[in-house]
């Protein structure tokens, strides 16, 4: 070990994404894909004519059922994630999503310069996700909220008498009718689609330029972090801001 060449960095396995975070992530990814696919069908159904009697068919019925079930899973999963933001490890906390200090914005600026504009400078190496990612996720959570409110608002009047969807009964009136509500719901879906494309791309990007196992981190939960970088990040976290 003594004759290690200086250019090879020592990496440590760091447990970044806890199991509940990973499970939340993949459940969320699955239901969002289901919601987008079924949502497109509901908005503009493909006509599949059949020789069978209409009474034997229930295509739109099933698609809507799946959409609503997925919506419930999405809602409860979202509520769980809000809770986990208070009790999870420091990489899952709300502090990493909501800017509370100057350092957060400074880090965002650095990420913007180095990773987006590709300017030369000191590489930014975050242990969890960086400030820019955290801030975008914060907007994603807001979009979750919008989708839950508009979606369950539309659903309230067609649901059974269960109290949960009825909680959203005030929504159509607040938005001035179902037609507008439906538009907001549909437009916000496009935010999700574009988010997913950028998100997946950036996972590839980070894996490629950092070599820390970014892609597999959401599988096993760990990343391989340079000892130096980890120490720096720990010191930064310990420092009062």
């Amino acid at each position: 070990m003594a004759n290690t060449t200086s250019s090879v960095q020592r990496l440590r396995r760091v447990y970044v994404w806890e199991k509940p975070v990973r499970m939340y992530h993949w459940l969320n990814a699955t239901v969002i894909l289901v919601l987008i696919a079924t949502g497109f069908y509901i908005a503009n159904p493909i006509v599949i004519n059949s020789n069978r009697e209409a009474s034997d068919l229930f295509l739109m019925g099933w698609v809507r059922t799946i959409h609503f079930i997925a919506a419930y899973i999405f809602l409860f999963n979202f509520i769980f994630r809000i809770y986990w933001g208070f009790v999870g490890n420091k990489y899952a906390r709300w502090k990493t999503f909501i800017p509370t200090n100057k350092g957060f914005f400074k880090e965002m600026w650095q990420v913007f310069k180095i990773d987006i504009l590709m300017l030369k400078g000191k590489e930014h190496m975050a242990v969890g996700h960086n400030a820019m990612a955290g801030f975008i996720y914060f907007f994603t959570f807001l979009a979750f909220l919008v989708q839950c409110i508009t979606g369950f608002g539309l659903y309230a009047s067609m649901s059974t008498n269960w109290w949960l969807p009825k909680l959203f009964g005030w929504v159509p009136a607040a938005f001035g009718g179902d037609a507008y509500l439906r538009s907001v719901h549909h437009w916000t879906m496009w935010f999700f689609i574009i988010f997913v494309v950028i998100h997946v791309y950036l996972v590839f990007y980070h894996d490629y330029v950092e070599g820390r196992g970014e892609m597999s981190s959401m599988g096993g939960g760990w990343k391989f972090i340079e000892e130096e970088e980890f120490k720096k990040s720990e010191e930064a976290d310990a420092k009062p801001k």
Partner: protein
């Protein structure tokens, strides 16, 4: 001078030559529309035989009179008779015999004589631009007339989409600043009965409810009577099974249209419209738009002229104009994103070449070390 007491509805009926049997039939019909149970019929009968007729002032502002037309065509003949003659429409420009000074006098009399008791029915919206000159009657702006009449009213019924949410004259750019009643009158109970026009039986039902129970019907969050506006047209549509089955008309002359499939894809607004059309229907329960092969217009919904195109599902969104649908904007944004990401990927390989090469080198070196 001795003034005769105001006659009850039953007395007025008899005077008109209706038999009691007709009267009870009418009451049964109304109780059914109101969604009352059996017991409710006797309540309606009792109320209409004992209570004096309700004084009503019916104002017309920016409107097309389709609400009045719908009202006098409600299915049961007594509906029109009772509610126009017997309900004592003390003032309504379209249907009263009096005109000019006499008419204005009649309104003034009702307003003073029945202060705090009369029901004010408003058909049409009120223009507020240019001090209200776009709609004036007898030298007064509609805003002045409304304020005067609302002052002593027990309750206000906003008939139709104009009075409830502005309708066509309030559509963009709304040159006269047409304003619905609830935004102008504060502190009075207002019942909104939207629709362009509202269904005649619904209009009659609202009045019968007020007469029978002496209070306003139960209203929803938007101020509409729950008995008629709590379900979407979609929920009571007889073509709903085709919707659930996934069988849709794609153009008005296709085979599916002949088969009577669901009109969802040709812009039917039933799924976002709250009204009683599917149940009560129109013109003596003969038909309603969907039954006649045309999608629901959404005429009882707020802002329905600006909410999107009539024959498409896609609806307009502020800031993008009526031409842009969510999917068009979304696809464009997606292509732009893909282009930006491709550019970013190329730039990454150029600008971070050293970094990536270094990572690869470190990997190879580590491997060499392990072999030692």
């Amino acid at each position: 001078m001795h003034q005769p007491p105001t006659p009850t509805y039953l007395e007025e009926f008899k005077r008109k030559g209706y038999k009691r049997r007709d009267f009870v039939k009418f009451c049964t019909l109304m109780a059914a529309y109101l969604g009352l149970e059996n017991k409710g019929i006797s309540q309606v009968v009792k109320a209409l035989s004992t209570k004096p007729r309700l004084p009503v002032i019916w104002l017309h502002f920016q409107e097309c009179t389709c609400c009045s037309e719908s009202f006098i065509r409600s299915s049961h003949p007594i509906v029109a008779d009772v509610l126009l003659d017997q309900i004592s429409l003390d003032y309504t420009e379209t249907l009263m015999a009096a005109s000019g000074f006499q008419a204005e006098e009649a309104m003034k009399n009702t307003m003073t004589k029945y202060k705090g008791e009369y029901i004010l029915c408003v058909e049409g919206s009120v223009p507020t631009a240019a001090d209200g000159v776009y709609c004036m009657i007898g030298g007064k702006t509609s805003m002045q007339i409304l304020e005067e009449a609302a002052e002593g009213a027990k309750a206000i019924i906003a008939w139709g989409s104009c009075a409830s949410n502005g309708c066509v004259q309030a559509a963009k750019p709304n040159p006269t600043s047409a304003t619905p009643i609830h935004k102008l009158v504060k502190g009075k109970p207002i019942i909104k009965v939207p629709g362009c026009p509202p269904i005649g039986e619904v209009m009659a039902g609202v009045i019968v409810h007020v007469v029978t129970f002496g209070r306003l019907p139960e209203l929803d969050g938007l101020g509409r009577p729950k008995a008629f506006y709590s379900k979407r047209v979609h929920d009571t549509c007889y073509r709903r099974p085709y919707y659930d089955a996934g069988l849709y008309v794609e153009s008005f002359d296709d085979e599916n249209a002949k088969k009577g499939y669901c009109l969802y894809k040709v812009g039917c607004k039933g799924p976002s419209t709250y009204n009683a059309c599917g149940l009560t229907k129109w013109n003596n329960g003969v038909s309603f738009p969907i039954q006649s092969g045309h999608g629901c217009f959404g005429c009882s919904e707020e802002n329905y002229w600006d909410n999107g195109r009539i024959y498409e599902r896609a609806s307009a969104f502020p800031g993008f104009g009526i031409e842009a649908t969510a999917d068009k904007v979304g696809k464009t944004a997606l292509i732009a994103t893909a282009a930006a990401l491709t550019a970013h990927a190329v730039m990454t390989n150029v600008r971070k070449k050293k970094l990536i090469k270094n990572l690869e080198k470190q990997g190879t070196e580590s491997e060499q070390e392990l072999k030692k």
